[in-house]
Assembly symmetry: C2
């Protein structure tokens, strides 16, 4: 297996390399790492120097994982495909393209085929949601979904995480006042992620709503999202209120969910999910205000299941098909 | 006006004293401060020593503000009433008693009368919610409400706030690992506040649902809450999805809301609301997944409008009635 990683020095790229080392999913014959400026990355006790993207650089690669933002993917992913590689793209560049795959292996790996193409990795907050929703759809049929996400700062990248730590320290040392009119993430809750559209939804919310419908193959699903950036270092949480088409009790719900997610904790929390590959679902309970309505709480490591691990799972599925 | 403050050294008690100084709501002839162990509190450039609660200690007081927890209120508030005082109680001890008032002045001050009695101050997360809901109920009629609250650590008291700061510092200094199985608030999201009931709701959620129905005088309102503790120092945030009985556009909603709350910011946030008496509402937009459904985002200082300021507003209303 000849692999490439574009954005190898980023938070997600680094997690992808750590997973590659640990999971030993396949024999790696060649590993090409790409980043804007050259840096050394350690991999299996070797130092590999990253290289900038250049013409014909993807020649000979089987699979290339992209996590360097939408612009890089738009420019370079089609070239990688032309040069014969399968691209697993962590950006949103191609997710809404009806001709391109958007894959969460637990939900729709049956769509995969082994050919040079772009396969999109969904948005971090979508991935953890759709796995739980798929469990509910299969067992009871989904009627409607309302999700409020509480998304950690690692999802905004290494720069945002560094800034959060510095700002938090300034506040704790009382060098800076907590009271602040300007929007800053430290010890704060900020009610938007991305840019706002004409309907009043921000781009992160549009991603959750659009991607979930595509992955679940439920174009008519009533789904609405509200996304908030919270001052967690890592792991995204989601409070989900949903209605199902059949009457069910809590044990039946937990039983359906537990085939897809980890339901062993009543109160899963961000720091508990950090560095874990699973999706944790807790606080499953009925909302008596509406028929067949329920609440649940989802937590997952946004850099792992929300990005690198989902990407590596796609690669593993592709290798299975090839064999 | 002869005033008492029980729990004068706590976070809410201190805010109450600061407001008393600043607002000059009424001439204070006497100010009695109570706390478990004696401490000096500064008030209008004087030092006042707190005293422990004792028999007949409320004699002669007109109004006594209680913020020392449910147990203290249960034991001492009825005694204060017997001794002729009006109690404004910040605990949940008497909120659900159908014979006792639960007041948010913007919503139901018409119920107030000036006599020795216990008047409950609602839960912090309820207060900011019902003011906005009252605006919507009056203009359009409320059909259903689903609220996810993101509640700051100051709401858990001074001890929790101190612990949060220490833990956060340890993590930032890398003395402690972010990854932790045990539940801790630092840089975390914790999906419950209070204790869990048989239906799977936690006590903070039950407070929001029960108190809102009582204050709004809408016993049949379909309201469901999910409460989360987030690592903000102060100010509670709420993502609210609601349905109204009439068709309306965004301008009509904002116009109705702006008579009750501050709608000047599109993205109000916790640090912006800190130390402010207003309730801020932003991100009002339609949820197209269901008819006449909307999202909004509420933020308020839980120690001010969520506790001390609402209590002082009640006292101000009482003084108006007396005159």
């Amino acid at each position: 297996m000849k692999l490439g990683v574009v954005g190898a020095t980023g938070l997600v790229g680094q997690k992808f390399l750590q997973l590659l080392e640990k999971e030993k999913s396949f024999q790696i014959e060649e590993l090409k790492l790409f980043s804007r400026s050259p840096k050394f990355c350690s991999f299996l006790n070797k130092k590999i120097e990253t290289q900038p993207l250049a013409k014909n650089t993807f020649e000979g690669l089987d699979i290339c994982f992209f996590s360097a933002g939408q612009d890089v993917s738009l420019e370079w992913a089609p070239q990688a495909v032309k040069q014969g590689a399968i691209v697993i793209d962590n950006s949103s560049a191609f997710r809404f393209d009806p001709d391109k795959l958007l894959i969460v292996p637990e939900v729709n790996s049956h769509l995969l085929n082994y050919k040079a193409q772009i396969i999109s990795n969904p948005n971090c907050s979508t991935i953890q949601l759709v796995v739980a929703l798929q469990a509910l759809e299969k067992a009871f049929g989904l009627e409607s979904v309302h999700v409020v996400s509480l998304q950690s700062i690692s999802g905004a990248g290494a720069g945002a995480l560094k800034h959060l730590k510095e700002e938090s320290l300034s506040i704790l040392k009382e060098e800076k006042s907590y009271k602040q009119h300007e929007i800053d993430y430290a010890f704060n809750c900020v009610p938007f992620i991305g840019s706002l559209n004409a309907e009043g939804f921000c781009s992160e919310e549009v991603k959750i709503m659009t991607e979930s419908k595509k992955i679940l193959e439920l174009p008519q699903l009533k789904i609405s999202a509200f996304t908030v950036r919270v001052p967690c270092l890592n792991s995204h949480s989601e409070a989900v209120r949903f209605s199902i088409k059949k009457q069910a009790n809590k044990d039946e719900l937990l039983s359906a969910l537990s085939s897809y997610v980890d339901t062993s904790e009543l109160f899963p929390h961000a720091r508990g999910a950090d560095q874990e590959k699973q999706i944790f679902v807790g606080r499953v309970h009925k909302d008596p205000s509406l028929e067949n309505s329920w609440w649940m709480w989802l937590v997952a490591d946004n850099l792992l299941k929300g990005a690198s691990w989902n990407g590596l799972q796609i690669a593993q599925e592709l290798v299975k098909i090839k064999k």
